[in-house]
């Protein structure tokens, strides 16, 4: 199923950012997921989760927030 989903995990503790990203990616199957994070730990974990599931990741820093776009 194709689609776009947004996910805001700013301020959440480990492992919630990666867990929520994983569940969202598995729910989407294919498409685009945009994840907002506010720490480099969350950024690393979200990107690694995406890559493990075969999604392409692209990060864009916007002030204190990083917007990670995952596509498959």
């Amino acid at each position: 199923m194709n689609g776009t989903k947004n996910l805001d995990v700013r301020g959440l503790s480990c492992p919630e950012p990666a867990l929520r990203t994983r569940l969202a990616l598995q729910g989407l199957g294919t498409g685009t997921l945009v994840v907002l994070v506010d720490s480099s730990t969350s950024r690393n974990n979200v990107e690694r989760t995406g890559r493990q599931l075969g999604w392409q990741t692209q990060a864009l820093e916007e002030g204190a927030t990083t917007r990670i776009t995952l596509r498959k």
């Binding site: 301020g11 959440l12 503790s13 492992p15 990666a18 867990l19 506010d38 989760t49 493990q52």
Partner: protein, 367 residues
């Protein structure tokens, strides 16, 4: 590859774990208690004793390793642009989690780091502890899958991230200065810091060596996100072995270093600062593992987060120090002869309280 990118790569946790695995046995050789080169729970317990928060005369010392963890992580966070003031994610719940984490760990007699270090020193009693740790993490994962959350932290005032580094600096000053500001009823100088004259608290490496080792570990661990609880959690929950590689490196490096130093003694009886009560070695670490999982990371990770501006982690660490005080004031902590008289009760109560947290805390109820 820059140091920053290297430490955030798959090699980061491995290098950090290997560093801990080499440095901890070296600290034992230099005077730290057996199989306790570094133990975040035991060392917080010693700090609690040194500050007079409990009266167990054998476990009182301001451990420089813990202070240096904060300083090393602070240096790394500043160097890599990761110093970020934040807080406000259920701080009181985190305090209680810290208390029960310390109590559970002191029923086992060690934090997750020491569980691995005990195994690497040949102490078979570490096995039920590690199995219990994984079971506690598994229980925490059940709650995480059901939506458990302590809620979101928010950007904090500029003073917040400096509280724990300044606290650590004050403790270092108290260690080095050892002022005698109090008076006994007889008028003799005493306190506010107390140092063991015998027992584990009296066993310590030279403070400068302890400080240097802690600085190295704190610096590496901040950037690599080394976490002994996240290691098992991420494998079970996310099928991700990134952090587990660090724990394996710790175990292998500590085993090799212990062998090289003649500190490996396989067996169940007569191990340093350990007891043979399998059930309570297991159950204590179930409680600790659950507490660490609900709080988001192992005690070492919580101390490192203190250095990068996380006020909530600071509350957890203060909770651990308070819990360690309670554990010894109320005879909850174990000794080499076995569990304390009320330790099993505390484990049971802790599991009930933490399961209530796990079942009831959702993001919608925490914001």
């Amino acid at each position: 590859m820059s140091l920053s990118r290297f430490l955030s790569s798959r090699w980061g946790p491995i290098v950090t774990g290997a560093a801990v695995g080499v440095l901890a046995p070296l600290l034992v050789q230099q005077g730290n208690p057996g199989n306790m080169g570094i133990c975040v729970a035991c060392f917080n317990r010693d700090i609690a004793g040194a500050l007079g928060f409990h009266r167990a005369a054998a476990v009182q010392y301001i451990r420089p390793e813990i202070l240096a963890f904060v300083f090393g992580a602070l240096a790394a966070a500043l160097a890599f642009g990761e110093f970020r003031p934040r807080g406000g994610s259920s701080p009181l719940i985190r305090f209680v989690l810290g208390m029960f984490a310390a109590i559970g760990a002191l029923v086992f007699l060690g934090c997750p780091w020491r569980a691995v270090l005990r195994l690497a020193g040949g102490d078979g009693n570490a096995i039920p502890g590690i199995v219990g740790l994984v079971a506690g993490i598994g229980l925490g994962i059940v709650f995480l899958k059901r939506g458990f959350s302590l809620g979101r932290s928010r950007p904090a005032a500029p003073a917040v991230p400096w509280v724990m580094p300044v606290f650590a600096a004050v403790l270092l000053a108290l260690l080095l200065g050892a002022p005698l500001l109090g008076r006994t009823p007889e008028g003799n100088p005493t306190g506010p810091v107390f140092f063991s004259e015998k027992g584990p608290g009296s066993q310590h490496a030279p403070w400068l060596l302890s400080l240097a080792a802690g600085l190295v570990v704190g610096f590496l661990a901040q950037r690599s996100r080394f976490c002994t609880v996240g290691a098992f959690r991420d494998v079970l929950l996310l099928r991700d072995a990134h952090l587990l590689n660090g724990v394996v490196a710790l175990l292998v490096a500590a085993f090799a270093t212990n062998l090289a130093l003649g500190q490996f003694h396989a067996g169940f009886e007569g191990n340093p600062v350990a007891h043979t009560g399998t059930s309570w070695n297991f159950a204590g670490m179930v409680l600790a593992g659950l507490a660490f999982t609900l709080a988001g990371g192992c005690p070492g990770r919580q101390v490192f987060l203190c250095g990068e501006g996380d006020g909530d982690a600071g509350v957890f660490v203060v909770g651990m120090i308070a819990g360690a005080g309670v554990a010894h004031l109320c005879s909850l902590a174990s000794s080499p002869s076995g569990p304390g008289p009320y330790g099993p009760w505390a484990v049971g109560i802790g599991l009930v309280v933490l399961c209530l947290f796990g079942a009831t805390m959702r993001e919608s109820t925490t914001n």
